[in-house]
Structure formats: structure tokens, C-alpha cells
């Protein structure tokens, strides 16, 4: 689906954020980009989204460059417009593509239903909790049926309870839709719980230090599964080694 070939990114101030990133993201992959703060995880996500251009290398979309709406992006903050209702926030990407509100109403409601907020369609963001705002943000990213969902530490600012709940919901959503997801996080536990593959990044300049496939069975309670605990240990060791390198 997406091939990364020798991708590097140097900012105008001379900082080398990413160096020689190679890899392949397949259809239906749930990839966690894991690494310490400042290692270039978000930069890599922005490069994949086309919001920035690589200084070297190529990002190749095998089905051709994505058109507007074919990339769903969820930011660290919910970034909702406070003057729009939840439904209107979700409708926004469709509106920008010239879609009619009445004709896409069911699409908007379906997206809100996917994140469990159908009953809050008319609520303004000020009336929603942090977790609910993030759900609306996810619904907004899903409403255009994107090829790939890019998520930049979306749960980092949430409390532990809400984070766990949203992680479970996101995983359920991914299993139902089999959408490709690239999820940036600096939490080992989050990466191990969510992903089918974890790309461990080194400290700046960011490189892919390890590409680890996760094999935790879907039928198990993932947070206490032996494979999950082993994966957490493996990721911890890798990150420790990277931080000492």
C-alpha cells in the first residue's frame, strides 16, 4: 500500500529529524510508531500524509497518490471547531469536498455511531468530555472512508481510564473495518496492545531500529496475555538499548 524508500527529513534550521527510513505498510496493517520524544515519529506521519515533503527518498502509494479525504488524520488534540456541533464537525471533511449536508446525514451519523456518540450529534464540543471530543475527532477522520488512518498520539492527553476505553474501541473499530492505521505513541503498553506491527524508532535522527510483528491472539484478554507481557518486555529492552546507544 505505502512504500518508504530512503526517506530522510532535514528541517530548514539544519536539524536532521529522520534518516534513511525504509519500510512497507500493507493494507489492513495496524502499525505503531514507537520511540522517545523528539525522535521524528510525528514528522514521519506528516511526511506520509503529504503535509511535508522528504528531503531525500520517496514515499510511494501503490494505488497512486491519495486524493483529498483518502487520508484520515487524528491529531494529539481533538482539534474540533468549538462553534460547530459534533455532527457538523464530522460533516466538515465532506463539506470541504462539496458534499450536501442532507445527502450525507446518514454517513455522518454512521461515523458518530462507530465511536458511540450517535446521541451527541447536536452537542457542541464545550459540552463534551476530553474522551468524547477525541471520539468525535476519530469519527471526523473516518467519515470520508479513508484508505489509511494516521493518528498522532491521540490518547496522550487523556486519563488512564479513558485511554484504555478508547484503545479498546479503536482496536474493535480496526477489526471491523480492517483499515490501515499508523499510530504514533511513546507508550510501550499502548503500542503492544494496539498494533499488529511495532516500528521502534531510535533517538534523533530517527531511524527504524526494529520492526516487530505482534502475535497476541484476538481471543485472549490482551492486557494479561503472556504474549503481550513478553512484547512489552521486548519493547522496553529495545528502547532501553536505543536510549543507551
Amino acid at each position: 500500500m505505502i512504500d518508504l524508500s530512503g526517506v530522510s527529513k532535514r528541517f530548514p534550521n539544519g536539524t536532521l529529524a529522520l534518516e534513511n527510513i525504509n519500510g512497507h505498510i500493507g493494507q489492513g496493517d495496524f502499525i505503531a510508531l514507537l520511540g522517545p520524544s523528539g525522535c521524528g515519529k510525528s514528522t514521519l506521519l506528516r511526511l506520509i500524509a503529504g503535509l511535508e515533503q522528504p528531503s531525500k527518498g520517496h514515499i510511494i502509494w501503490q494505488d497512486g497518490s491519495p486524493r483529498p479525504g483518502e487520508i484520515g488524520f487524528v491529531f494529539q488534540d481533538s482539534t474540533l471547531m468549538p462553534w460547530l456541533s459534533a455532527a457538523d464537525n464530522v460533516f466538515l471533511p465532506l463539506k470541504l469536498r462539496g458534499k450536501n449536508k442532507a445527502a450525507t446525514k446518514s454517513q455522518v451519523i454512521t461515523a458518530l455511531d462507530q465511536v458511540g456518540l450517535k446521541d451527541f450529534a447536536g452537542s457542541k464540543p464545550a459540552a463534551l468530555s476530553g474522551g468524547m471530543k477525541m471520539r468525535v475527532s476519530i469519527a471526523r477522520a473516518l467519515v470520508t472512508a479513508p484508505k489509511v488512518l494516521l493518528m498522532d498520539e491521540p490518547f496522550a492527553a487523556l486519563d488512564e481510564f479513558t485511554r484504555h476505553k478508547l484503545q479498546e474501541d479503536l482496536r474493535r473499530l480496526w477489526r471491523a473495518e480492517q483499515k490501515s492505521i499508523i499510530f504514533v505513541t511513546h507508550s510501550i503498553y499502548e503500542a503492544a496492545f494496539l498494533a499488529t506491527r511495532v516500528l521502534v524508532m531510535s533517538a534523533r535522527p530517527g531511524r527504524i531500529a526494529a520492526d516487530i510483528a505482534c502475535s497476541i491472539g484476538e481471543s485472549e484478554d490482551r492486557r494479561i496475555a503472556p504474549d503481550y507481557i513478553a512484547l512489552v518486555k521486548q519493547l522496553s529492552d529495545l528502547l532501553r538499548a536505543e536510549s543507551l546507544a
Binding site: 503529504g50 486524493r67 483529498p68 479525504g69 491529531f75 462553534w83
Partner: protein, 245 residues
Amino acid sequence: MPVIFGIIGLCLWQGAIWITQTPAYVLPGPIAIVTAYFDDYGTLNAALLSTLTVTFAALLAATVLGVVLALVMAASDLARAAVQPWAVTLQVTPIVAIAPLIIIWVNQPFLALVVCATIVAFFPVLSNTAAGLAATPHDLLDLFRLNGATRLQTLLLLRLPAALPYFLAGLRIAGTLALVGAVVAEFVAGSGGFASGLAYRILEAGYRLEIPRMFAALVLLGFAGIAIYTALGLFSHLMLRRRDA
């Protein structure tokens, strides 16, 4: 609480006048000021109306001018470089210095007063709106880019609504500045013999040593300033509450 302090202050002021037997032409007490107002309320109210007419016309013009220039500045760096220095120059030039020229150049007295007051009042609207347009959250701008938004869509659906709180804060400052500009312009025009507004009545009362009447006009100006500031604050509050609630 401010009302209680005001009443205490007025009582102390009147008491000091009685005790020290200060003549009214040096410092009139509150009772003399109120009496002077009721002796000449027709003229003073007409003058207040005239000043307020200039003030509101100038506020309207300042709002249109400030917003249009802010949009021009937001459109390109070249436009910003072209507009900003002149706007700042106009802001730092004392209106007292250029009002006589404006009154000569603009042959119509009312229009000349409005031009002077507009010059004083437009800068807060311009600078605040420009700051608001520049402070649009980057994540939302990225979201619009990912969904293929046009410049016009980004302006109308994102940048203008996001700049609203900044614009309203500027409008609140501009309201009182428009009053100050109107009064200054009336002083200059009044010195040249053009009878208009409260400033002219203050000049006239000063020439005739009718100090209580002069104070009555000053008090009316003070109340007008407070009323404008409060009304615009309330307007701002209602607008934002209606938008976000």
C-alpha cells in the same frame, strides 16, 4: 461594589467642598454639577447625541476598514509588508496634530470628525483581527489541507470564525477609542468655531467659566464611554456564548 465606592466618593467630595468653601469656578461639587446639567440638559443631551453619532459612525467605519485591511494582510506577506508600516504610522501619529489638516481637506464637518475618530479607532480592530487570522490552529489548517480545502473555504469556514474572539476584543477597545477620537476631533473643530458635540460644549463652558456645566459635559462623556465599553463587552460575550454553547 463600584457603585458603593462611587457614592462614598461623591459624598466625600461634596463634604470637602462644603467644609473648604471651595468656589464652584475652581472645583464644583457633585450637587452643582447635577444642577448645571438639569439647567441645560437640552443642549447637553443634543451635544451628547452629536458626539455619539460621530462615535458610532467612526466605529462602523473602523470595523470595516480594520477587518478589510486585516484580510488583505493575511492574504500575502507582500500585502502585509505594504500595509503594516502605514497602519502603525497612522496609529502613532497624534490625532491632535493631523486633525486640523483633515478638517481642512474634508470639507464636510461631520465627515471630517468621523475620519479623525476612525483613524484613532481602527488600529485595535486591525491588529487584533490580523493576530486572530494568524493564530488559526495549525492542526486545523492541516486538516483543511488534507481535505483539499480552497483558500476561500479555509478563510470562511476556519480562519474568520477562529479569529472572532480576537476581533471582538479589538472591537471593544475600538469603541472607547472612537469616542476619544470623536472628542479630540470636536475639540479641534470647536477651536475653529465649528459647534458640535460635547467637546465643543466643554470648550464653550471653559471660555465662559461655567465650570459646573463643563463638569456636567465631562460626566456625560464618562458615562458614554462606560456605556459603550459595557455594551460591546456584553455583545462580545453573547456572540461567543451563542457561537460555542
